[in-house]
């Protein structure tokens, strides 16, 4: 539908004042469609429901905007919301551009003056060559006064735009940020006309009408301009600056709602650097490493080999409470989970260490049998790297799964 150009999002988490009142899930406004003309009853009904939902969302946004001073995260219903600012230039599909321009013309007829300056210098090719018709006089509706190319653009069909583009523009998924942005753009356009931006809009429209600007200013966040000015058929582009967006995303499966629904445990499928650093902090705070039996022994090797992995496993076994200010407080330590994940993750370390400790005497024995005098350094390197190879093989070829299963069986813990 649209082509995202250099989108810049600056995220900022915002408070939900009362999470229980989040009845209108923000994602349901995805049902709103902008580009396709409403034809069937079902579409009209959907449009009505969607606009109602949209106003719910706006009311909700206004409600939590009052609580903006704090910073917290709402996890009550498994959705996380945050306020972002959208910046970027978006290419508009022909259908969407048509619809947007039609609405703009209906709202502010002065837009037409700007549109006339977009007239192509050379006649467009590709479409059917029409005889130049004399411009009809001013009619009862503003769009009757259009130049033919613009009328063709807005109300006709261009070659090649068929059912496919309709389908394409009708596909809006929750993952489609552009679709969301457009829904939000429409909402902001409504609000802008109704609200205090109306005056500013009037001034901008006047400026456009005077010919000083060739950009159609939709509201304080959005400009519409022709990226193909004077060269042929218009290529509309929407420029968005600092448009506040509420992004609602479902919280992935790591969140659990045991208890009143505020506890979660972190998950370490592919931990990010941030998480690993945070794990280091937790491990240092709770001093778990010092109480581990193997660290008190003579072998410091165990500490170096296994401690970082153990820190990560400990981190993923801790359940946290989120307090009102969004801070984590340790609630409990899931011992079974720690043992199972340890068995899984440490088994690779054990295998690697064993392989490297085995490899060096083996290499020494074979070398001695061959009558060799090999310096130590290559043997050390071979030992290290054989250990790493064994670790990779173990972790990726079922060894880790096997260790996890054995630990589960030993603990009597289910899945």
């Amino acid at each position: 539908m649209m082509d995202v150009r250099r989108p810049v999002c600056t995220a900022r988490h915002v408070t939900f004042g009362n999470c229980a009142q989040l009845s209108a899930r923000p994602h349901c406004c995805h049902a709103t469609r902008v580009g396709t003309p409403v034809t069937t009853d079902a579409q009209i009904a959907a449009q009505t429901a969607a606009s109602k939902c949209k106003f719910d969302v706006m009311a909700h946004r206004q409600q939590f905007a009052r609580h903006r001073s704090g910073s917290a995260q709402c996890a009550a219903d498994g959705w996380t919301t945050c306020e972002e600012q959208l910046n970027g230039d978006f290419d508009l599909d022909t259908l969407v551009g048509q619809e947007l321009l039609r609405r703009l013309i209906a709202q502010q007829p002065s837009v037409l003056d700007t549109l006339r300056t977009w007239e192509p210098a050379v006649p467009t090719v590709g479409g059917p060559m029409r005889p130049v018709v004399t411009r009809p006089g001013p009619g009862p509706r503003p769009e009757d006064d259009l130049p033919p190319w613009l009328r063709d653009y807005l109300f006709g069909t261009w070659g090649g735009q068929g059912l496919g583009s309709e389908l394409r523009s009708a596909s809006v998924s929750p993952a489609n940020i552009v679709g969301n942005a457009l829904g939000a753009a429409q909402a902001v356009a409504y609000a802008g006309v109704q609200g205090q931006t109306a005056a500013r809009l009037q001034a901008a429209a006047a400026k456009v009408a005077s010919g000083a600007s060739r950009v159609v200013r939709i509201n304080e966040f959005m400009d519409l301009y022709n990226a193909n000015m004077g060269k042929g058929r218009p290529r509309l582009r929407l420029r968005i600056r600092n448009l506040p967006l509420t992004v609602a995303a479902p919280i992935p499966g790591a969140w659990r709602t045991n208890g009143p629904g505020t506890a979660h445990s972190t998950k370490w499928a592919q931990p990010s650097g941030q998480q690993v650093k945070a794990a280091g902090v937790v491990a240092a705070e709770s001093k778990w490493a010092r109480s581990m039996a193997w660290s008190g022994g003579k072998v410091g090797t165990g500490l170096i080999t296994f401690a970082p992995t153990a820190a990560l496993d400990a981190w993923s076994s801790i359940e946290f409470d989120l307090d009102a200010a969004g801070r984590r407080r340790i609630r409990s330590f899931d011992t079974n989970k720690f043992l199972v994940t340890s068995a899984r993750n440490q088994s690779g370390n054990v295998a690697g260490l064993a392989a490297s400790v085995i490899s060096v005497p083996t290499a020494v024995a074979i070398a001695g049998m061959a009558g060799l005098t090999v310096a130590g350094a290559p043997l050390v390197v071979i030992g290290l790297l054989a250990g790493v190879a064994m670790q990779v093989v173990w972790n990726n070829y079922g060894g880790a799964d096997f260790a996890e299963q054995q630990a589960r069986k030993a603990l009597g813990a289910g899945r």
Partner: protein, 256 residues
């Protein structure tokens, strides 16, 4: 041809070699062979390495013929390391179609490494020492009167604790990579080329020349008409007498 400087390290050698054959060598083939093939391979390599370990512990005289057997063991062990170093890269690149190429590359590295060292050592062995009539590099190695092979002085082998400590650091490399935004398995991009380079260097600088020397020593044996054994044989036999099962496993003519 060269018993370990610390002879007591022979005590646990069958265990270590057996574990290497059962555990390390098959695992190095995990990227190319499927599980049944590995399960078939593990007992075989375990028996081969365990037998070698038992032989070294109880019966070895460190003769040139045993050095040839060491070349076979080197093929199994260091060849497996070369195989894992190339096939792991093909696996990480998600290109299973490149596995034959990786195997070919490993074979090429093994053969070229051995051949380079072998050819260079053969060239050096062509020089004859005028005093003894032996190849010059072998002259300090041989005690022809006693039919003994003298051990060359060598730097001490690395201590197991050193290796373990360094490995402890190396095994956390995947975690470090994750900290840097990589994937844990991306460690193979760093480790495997280094492994291949080290093993190839060792083959070219150590095992290839050792093979050439062993062949030259067998030639000397043929000329002298008596087998050459290590000069530390008596020490070795005295040591072996204390080993468990030594009465049945050592050679009959060696036990007093």
């Amino acid at each position: 041809m060269r018993p370990p400087d610390d002879l007591s390290s022979l005590k646990h050698l069958p265990l270590v070699l057996g574990a290497a054959g059962a555990f390390v060598v098959p695992a190095m083939w995990a990227f190319v062979l499927d599980k049944p093939a590995l399960m078939l391979m593990a007992p075989i390599t375990c028996l081969v390495f365990l037998g070698s370990g038992l032989h070294l512990k109880y019966r070895a005289r460190y003769s040139p013929r045993e050095a040839l057997w060491a070349a076979v063991l080197a093929l199994l062990f260091f060849g497996s390391l070369l195989v894992v170093s190339t096939t792991a890269l093909a696996w990480r690149a998600h290109r299973p179609d490149l596995q034959p190429l990786a195997l070919g590359l490993a074979a090429l590295m093994f053969v070229s490494g051995m051949a380079t060292g072998f050819v260079a050592e053969r060239r050096r062995l062509r020089v004859i020492d005028p005093a003894t009539g032996l190849p010059a590099p072998l002259a300090p190695l041989l005690d022809l009167k006693g039919h003994r092979i003298l051990p060359l002085p060598s730097p001490p082998p690395p201590r197991a604790a050193t290796v373990a400590t360094l490995t402890a650091v190396a095994l956390n490399l995947p975690l470090l990579l994750q900290l840097g935004g990589w994937e844990a398995n991306d460690v193979v991009w760093l480790a495997m080329p280094a492994l291949a380079a080290t093993v190839t260097t060792m083959l070219a600088s150590g095992f290839g020349p050792a093979l050439a020397r062993a062949l030259a020593l067998m030639d000397v044996e043929h000329r002298v008409g008596r087998p050459l054994v290590t000069s530390r044989l008596e020490e070795l036999q005295a040591m072996r007498r204390g080993f468990w099962l030594s009465r049945w496993l050592t050679r009959a003519n060696d036990t007093p």
